[in-house]
Each structure stands twice: as C-alpha cells, then as structure tokens.
C-alpha cells in the first residue's frame, strides 16, 4: 500500500529522530538504568506488609506496588522525555540535518510533526517497555494479570506528547535548560495543585476551612486546578484503569481532554513559532 505523499516525509523524519536519539550514549545509559530500577522493584512484591497489625494479602500488595511503580515510571518518563526533547532542534541545527531536510521539498510543518512524532513514539515505547516489565513480573511471578496496566501506560503517553510539544516550543524561545525547567515547573505545579485540591476536599480540611484562609484563596486554587495542564490528573485517570473493573467514571476523563487541548494549543504555537524561525 502506498503512503500518502504528505505523510511520507513525516514518517521518515520521525524515523530519523528516533534512530538518532537511540544512538545517543546518554539514551542507552538512561534506558539501562531505568530497566535495572524496574527489575529491582520485583523485590517489593515479596515482602510481608503489615497495616494496623494485619498482614496484607498478596492481591493488595500487588495492586499497591504496581500502582506506585506505575506513577514513579510515568513521572520519571516525563523528566526523561523533557531531557531528550530539549536539545533536538539545536542538535539538528548544529549537525546540519535541519538545513539538509528543509532544503528538500519538505514543509516546516512536516518537519515539526516528524520531530514530535519521533520523540513521542520513542518516549511512549520506552515507558511502555518499563510498564510491561512490571506487568510481566506481576503476571508471571505472582499470577496476577492486570490488563488495565498496559492501557494505563498508553493513556499516560498523552502526558509525554504534551511534554514533547511544550519542550520543543520553549526550546525555540529560550535556552534548552530553561525550556526543560519550564516544563518541569508546569508538571510540578500540576501535581501540587492536584495535591492541594485533594487536601481541600478531605473531611479534615473541610472542618478547618475557616482557619485555612479566605474563600478567595481556595477559588484561585480551584482555577489553577481546572485550567492548568493536568499532567497529574491524566496520570491519575490512567492509573484508575489498574485493577479497576470497567471504565472509570465519565467526569474523570476531563484531565485527558485538558491535556489534549493544551497539546493542540502548544502544537499550534510550535508551528507558528517554527514557521518564523530562521534556519541556520
């Protein structure tokens, strides 16, 4: 089957991005460290855990450990994806690949989509492998199959897409390290806002509400909670598939929609910014 003409250069650029990234020594080192860390997590499944003097059953241990590992991997991958992405445009420019590609009948939009696609596929695949190791460990060693685990991994990859687009956009406007820190800042604020929102909805906090501050402060936090890129929310939404039966409640899909909308907005800004960029 022949590929549509506009799609062909995008796939090729994505392929080059992927292979160039994998060839980097830093990538290989990161990958080995991450896989080793995930393999070491196997030990956590075999411990005896006591809560309130009662020993936890194997199912609860597997569920909790798998969920915790899922979050650690997802957050770690956001960090690694930002690190991979921040130098992509600069490296392409320094190595002459950018001018080489754009002197061919390839539009800037195709180039940018190819870059985003390559980085997204790479980081999503990387994360999927790490999650798959956990999935297989639980399945083979403990005979507990969690099909939602891999679905959750795929859903969480939308966070990585957002990180790739945001870092690429910021790297056009500021030094690479500043772009990395900016996106990490967005992530940290997202997790903090979610944490504060969760605390504010706890019964203890509700009781203490008058002492905690004015209603206006809480309203400001609510605005941040709902409008800020919901990286944390998407991760929690994805993790709700682990061990759950059926689809989670409809309202919880909002973080995913939020992150997709932000992805589209940042993507449009990235196209606009790169269209006006001078190619060196």
């Amino acid at each position: 089957m022949k590929m549509p003409k506009a799609l062909s250069p995008i796939i090729k650029i994505a392929k080059y991005t992927l292979t160039d990234e994998v060839r980097q020594r830093s990538f290989v080192v990161m990958f080995v460290i991450c896989v080793t860390f995930v393999f070491l997590m196997r030990g956590c499944y075999h411990g005896n855990y006591m809560v309130n003097g009662q020993e936890l059953d194997a199912g609860a241990i597997v569920g909790s450990v798998s969920r915790a590992t899922f979050h650690v991997i997802a957050v770690g991958m956001m960090l690694l994806t930002a690190l991979f992405s921040m130098r992509v445009f600069r490296r392409d420019r320094d190595e002459g690949m950018q001018s080489s590609i754009l002197s061919k009948p390839i539009t800037r939009r195709q180039y940018v989509i190819g870059k985003v696609l390559g980085l997204w596929v790479l980081s999503a695949f990387f994360m999927f492998i790490l999650h798959a190791i956990i999935f297989l460990t639980a399945s083979i060693t403990l005979k507990v199959v969690m099909p939602g685990y891999l679905v959750a991994s795929l859903l969480c990859s939308f966070n990585l897409l957002f990180v790739v687009i945001a870092v690429l956009l910021f790297s056009l406007m500021m030094p690479d390290i500043a772009a990395f820190l900016c996106v990490m800042g967005i992530g940290i604020i997202s997790f903090v806002a979610d944490g504060i929102f969760a605390i504010s909805h706890s019964s203890k906090a509700q009781a203490m509400m008058p002492q905690l501050g004015s209603q206006q402060d809480w309203t400001a936090w609510r605005v941040v909670y709902y409008l800020w890129p919901k990286l944390s929310g998407t991760q929690h939404f994805a993790s709700s598939f682990i061990g759950s039966e059926g689809f989670p409640e409809y309202g919880s899909i909002y973080p995913l929609i939020n992150i997709l909308i932000y992805g589209l907005i940042f993507g449009a800004l990235l196209f606009w910014r790169f269209r006006n960029e001078d190619i060196i």
Binding site: D20, R23, E95, G96, S100, L102, I106, N276, I279
Partner: protein, 283 residues
C-alpha cells in the same frame, strides 16, 4: 512562471515572449492558491527563469542585509553571486530556500514562490561550512537525502554509488563522518546536493576547505554538469574559479546590487574578475 499581476484573468490566452523574440499564444492559469502559471506549447523556444528576485529586501532591525535587489537567473545558466563578507550573499541563498523570510519583495525558484515547498523539488543545496551528523557514515547520509526525496531504494543505491565516485570518495563512504576532514565533508555535501538530479544547484562556497586538487576536481565536476543543462547559482570567494566556470555574475556589497552582467562583458582586456570585483566594491 509566476505572474502575480492582479490584471490577468483566469485561464487567459495571451502571447509570451521567447528567446528568439517571437511571441506565441499561451494560456495563463490561475491555481487554487492564487498563483499563476503559463502553459506554453513549445517550451524549448522560450526563456524560463530558474531564479527570480523582485525588489527583495531583508532587514535585521535597522540593518538592511539585502536592499531592494532584483535579478533573474535563466535556466541552464552558471551564475555567480559575488561580494565581500557580509554583503548579503548567504542571506539571498537562505531566502531562496525559504530559510529566512524577506522583509519585502518576492523570490521564485523554478517558477514557484519560494515559500512553496514544491519550489525546492528541483533544488540541490550545499551550505557554507557544511555539517553531517557525526554518527552517520557518508553513505548513510546520502541514503537519507535520497529517501527524503522519495527516491526508490534501488534507484537511491545506484545514485549514491555514482555520486560517491563523482565526488571521489570511494573507499571512505562507509566510515563515520566524524573521521572526515572538512574537505571530505564538503565533497559529501556536494554529493548530497546532486542526489535526485536537481535542475538547480545552489552552492554556497563549495570549495571551502578543499585543497587545490580538490578545488580543481570540483570545478571539473561543475563543468561536466553544464552539459546536462543544470543551472548553477554559486556563492564564492574564489574569483579565479568563478571566472573559469560561470557565464554571468552579480556583484553585491552592503546588500545592494552593484552590477550584473556576463563575465565576458565585465572582464575586459587584461583585467581579471578580481580586478573588476575590487573596482566595483571599492567604488
């Protein structure tokens, strides 16, 4: 050929000037994107401009890197753009490839506006201070360039083999480019520009980093391409080489076009192109 005139009508019949001075009935079409092109029954009798610059200006803040420059390069012509450092030569090349946008004016390549990616269909480009990703071999790099042009794998392999021979890099094509000298990278850069048999070759300092033998080989290679009807747009400081290769030249300084003519007209009697260049640049 683009005629962005508001007066012309859709599918309008008109006469088109030819190289022999005759005019022949042609049809002007308006494309969906608002550009015009001419369908000429017998293309061989008509002049086509491979490159056209119309009142092009490029400003960086208050500095005019290119100041209201207009000229054209005919198909099959070997054209040299000359000027001292900072004259605006590379800026013109970058505008032709849509690497940077003009502040005013328009540029077209092969009859298409430079902002149209299809205008680069027929273009091979060699940048000044060429770089190749260090983890690739010369062969892998050429293969990538061929792939990006949608050349089939077998055709790409044939072309790459031929080009490696053409640029004299047999035996070194499978080693990593990080081990190459500047001259070797320049040769592979020229090879990459030749992939896909482009109609127009834009060369920005093609002999930069080459030894005298390499310079001579590149000159011979460019001369051999002349017979294939390729158009060459050359930015070079090596005026002696330009004099040997090119038919026409334009001299620019501080973003302004000083002169554009045939080299045989510019260089008279015992003068060299270098004398002419110095005379024009120093005023």
């Amino acid at each position: 050929m683009i005629y962005p005139s508001p007066d012309v009508q859709d599918n309008h019949d008109f006469s088109c000037p030819g190289v022999d001075g005759r005019r022949q009935k042609s049809t002007l079409y308006l494309t969906f994107c608002g550009q015009y092109f001419i369908d000429i029954p017998d293309r061989s009798t008509y002049t086509f401009f491979m490159i056209e610059l119309n009142s092009v200006t490029k400003r960086y803040g208050s500095l005019a890197a290119v100041d209201n420059i207009s000229f054209s390069v005919k198909t099959g012509e070997y054209f040299a753009l000359l000027g001292p450092n900072g004259a605006g030569k590379t800026t013109i090349v970058k505008m032709l490839l849509d690497f940077t946008k003009p502040t005013a004016g328009s540029l077209s390549v092969n009859g298409l506006c430079c902002t149209d990616a299809a205008s680069r269909n027929a273009v091979g480009y060699l940048a000044e201070n060429y770089h190749i990703p260090p983890h690739l071999s010369g062969w892998q790099y050429l293969q990538r360039c061929a792939e990006l042009l949608d050349i089939s794998r077998s055709e790409a392999t044939d072309q790459c083999r031929r080009i490696v021979e053409l640029v004299g890099m047999q035996g070194r094509e499978h080693t990593k480019t990080s081990t190459y000298s500047k001259g070797m990278i320049q040769r592979f850069g020229l090879g990459a520009a030749l992939i896909g048999n482009p109609k127009l070759l834009i060369l920005d300092e093609p002999t930069s980093g080459l030894d005298p033998i390499g310079i001579r080989e590149i000159r011979q290679l460019l001369e051999s391409l002349k017979n294939q009807g390729m158009t060459i747009f050359l930015n070079s400081h090596l005026l002696s080489e330009v004099e040997k290769i090119c038919d026409n030249a334009a001299i620019i300084n501080r973003g302004r076009l000083l002169v554009k003519d045939k080299i045989s007209t510019l260089v008279k009697d015992s003068d060299t192109l270098e004398d002419v260049f110095v005379r024009f640049v120093k005023g």
